[in-house]
Amino acid sequence: MVSEKNNIYILKKLKIECLVSVSPSKKINIVNENTSDKIKRLSRSIGITSKHVCDKGQRFSTLGETGINFLINKLKLKKNEIDGIIVVTQSPDYIMPGTAVLLQDRCGLPLNTLAYDINLGCSGYPYGLFVAHGHLSSGMKRILLVVGDQSFSPGTKDEGHGVLFGDACTVTSLILDDEINESIFSCGTDGSGLKALYIPHGGKVRPVTEDSLVPKLDETGVMRTGTDVVLDGPKIHNFSVGLVETELRKVCDFANINLDEIDYFVLHQANKLINNTIRMKMKKEMEKFPESLSDFGNTSSASIPITMTARLNDSWILKDKKTIMCGFGIGLSWSTFLYTSKGDEMSFHIFD
């Protein structure tokens, strides 16, 4: 956060020390011999053939606990070497308090640990990196960024929701390192688009009542309850396709690099229609646009790090690889992050 221009920020010395993705072991195959033609078509169009979802007793926070403990073991950390936990999620255990404070206790971190939540969805991972850098620049030594959602709602009557969303959590250890290249962050918000992707009931505007849980046919022909996610597909499509390429170019121009110099474009995994349209308009090869949709579904804010660990394996952490991440969706909100690897980062994908 040293320099600013057109809402673009330079982040000095920020290093992704270790990235751990945690997917639930429970896997759902979208298409089987009993699947209706409607679901088969949906699966084909949005590009999701299977996904991982929380089993009974599992929650986003329990995946987080697993990820934090795994990371502590891998890095051989003492608990007092973690100064803070920042959780980015829209799937908290409780409306209050946030999930970060629960994780501080469950993982046995010291009482002087900073811990708080950020309420963001698809754009959340780059935001988390940016916010964590602020704390590190202020003197903290290590921040754990815990990002993801438990979006899948078993029993939902909304077939689109039932197919689209998967569950995941990722834990990223962030430190400052004098030898790492500058990172670039850019963001934006358009709150007028809130109804393009939201949950109508459960907040102060419409608290949950018995009626909130009754499935009803809405004006678009979708059967859903008041606590189900409402998603205006065409609106989100135009927003995403119209925005992402411009944002990617803006950040690359600022960094004075050509789009061809980017090794990996890791985009939020919205759906195949959106992600393929963006890639085809940019005329880039598939290898540079890794996807995790087909096996993990849309995992909200976790989809960027999940794609990095599940598809790029260790290739994104080879020395001097340039990865540009772009999250976009609920809010409407978007964020872009350009990271150049040092070569000694660590990357894992585990199943819980």
Binding site: G233, P234, H237, V241, L273
Partner: protein
């Protein structure tokens, strides 16, 4: 792109069971079972083939036909 190629591309993009051809003058919204997924197919096709963004809501509200869409995408 010829109009025949346009219609063929649209049929592939909307991916509707049993729909193998489109009538040039039947509004999209009057095609049986034309849904939001089919709308997204039309939008994606327009973006990729014509580099033009169309409003999915207007496709319904204006009762746009394939012929009208073809002309609009070609700037007529």
């Amino acid at each position: 792109m010829t109009f025949d190629d346009f219609l063929e591309g649209l049929v592939t993009s909307i991916d509707m069971p049993g729909v193998t051809t489109l009538d040039p003058d039947t509004p999209f919204c009057e095609i049986a079972d034309f849904d939001s997924l089919a709308t997204l197919g039309v939008m994606t096709f327009s973006e990729i083939e014509f580099n033009k963004q169309i409003n999915g809501e207007k496709l319904w509200d204006d009762k746009t036909t394939p012929k009208q869409l073809y002309d609009r995408l070609n700037g007529k």
